[in-house]
Amino acid sequence: MKLLSATGDAPDYFMQPRMFPMLLLPWWMAESGGRKPNRGFQSDVVYSTLNGYYYIRLLDNLMDGHGSVEISLLPAAAFFHSEFLMTYQKYFDANHPFWPVFRSAWFSSSEAVASEVGVVCFDEDAFRQISAQKLCAARIPLAATSYFYRDAESMKPWLEFMAALAGWSQMLDDLFDWHRDLRGKKDSYVLSQARQHKREGETVEAWMARTGFNWGVSVLRGWLPELRRLAQPLGSAALNRYLDLREKMLEEDNAKLGAGLKTLVKISAVLSIEKNYSARPN
């Protein structure tokens, strides 16, 4: 767990602004519309979600080959899964409508992780139906929160927003992980686009530097208005501030990394002048 965090402290990992806000979404939902959240319940939601995250992350790392110590940690999956699930048994009896939502989200998440391995080429549909669904277990703490506050009608718009944010976050993840995925021979929507659109003889790396990163940023930029539209009826000022922050971070990354990639293209162009010149007949 400490290895996930650059500082060695788990809270620093989960509090990164780039992290999908799985811990914050239920809190924002709980306090929306001026409601005072129940801190005991919300602490349990955080505890359950952390265990669920470690469970998924353990399996995901093993499946995509990023793992180094995960095989020896595999028995700990029993602990993570039990703590994730049993926390909710304190609040919802076996016949409560929370459990069908739990089952559906939990199974969909597992199915997405399993299906992703077999995809040869990702188009936008495959991305939305498989990759973006990997985060769908985040529906569970939101459903628990809405049932705990007896506010079941708020669940649907929050789940719709969460699904859209999961897609956006996964696209961002794929864009920034393109080189790690390429090296690890793991396919993604971004890498599939690179393979489809690169010029003849051009490498994936060259396409990413020349145009792929810009393409990815423009896709993310294009999906933001839908996120804002879905956030609007949720009545959470904190959620809207979060979207402002993510938009600002995206533009900062675009300016910073886009400039760096352009410099690489320029260096390559300067170095290729001599080769082109030498190739000409005398």
Binding site: F176, D177, E205, A209, R210, G260, K266, V270
Partner: protein
Amino acid sequence: MTLQQLINKVLNDPAFFSALKKDPAKALQGTDEKLTPEQIKALKELNYKTLEDVGSAFAGPSAIT
């Protein structure tokens, strides 16, 4: 040197670009690149500072999931 090789340098050997800015001919010794004075001038004029974030963003540990 191809764009692919340059990207791999950013991710695995960022010090190469300090050397390239300082003395392009020396930095490329041992490669197939034979630089003209115009190329050396052009390489010295580029803004290498912009490369600093590229390596950490794309080569470091994944920050999200």
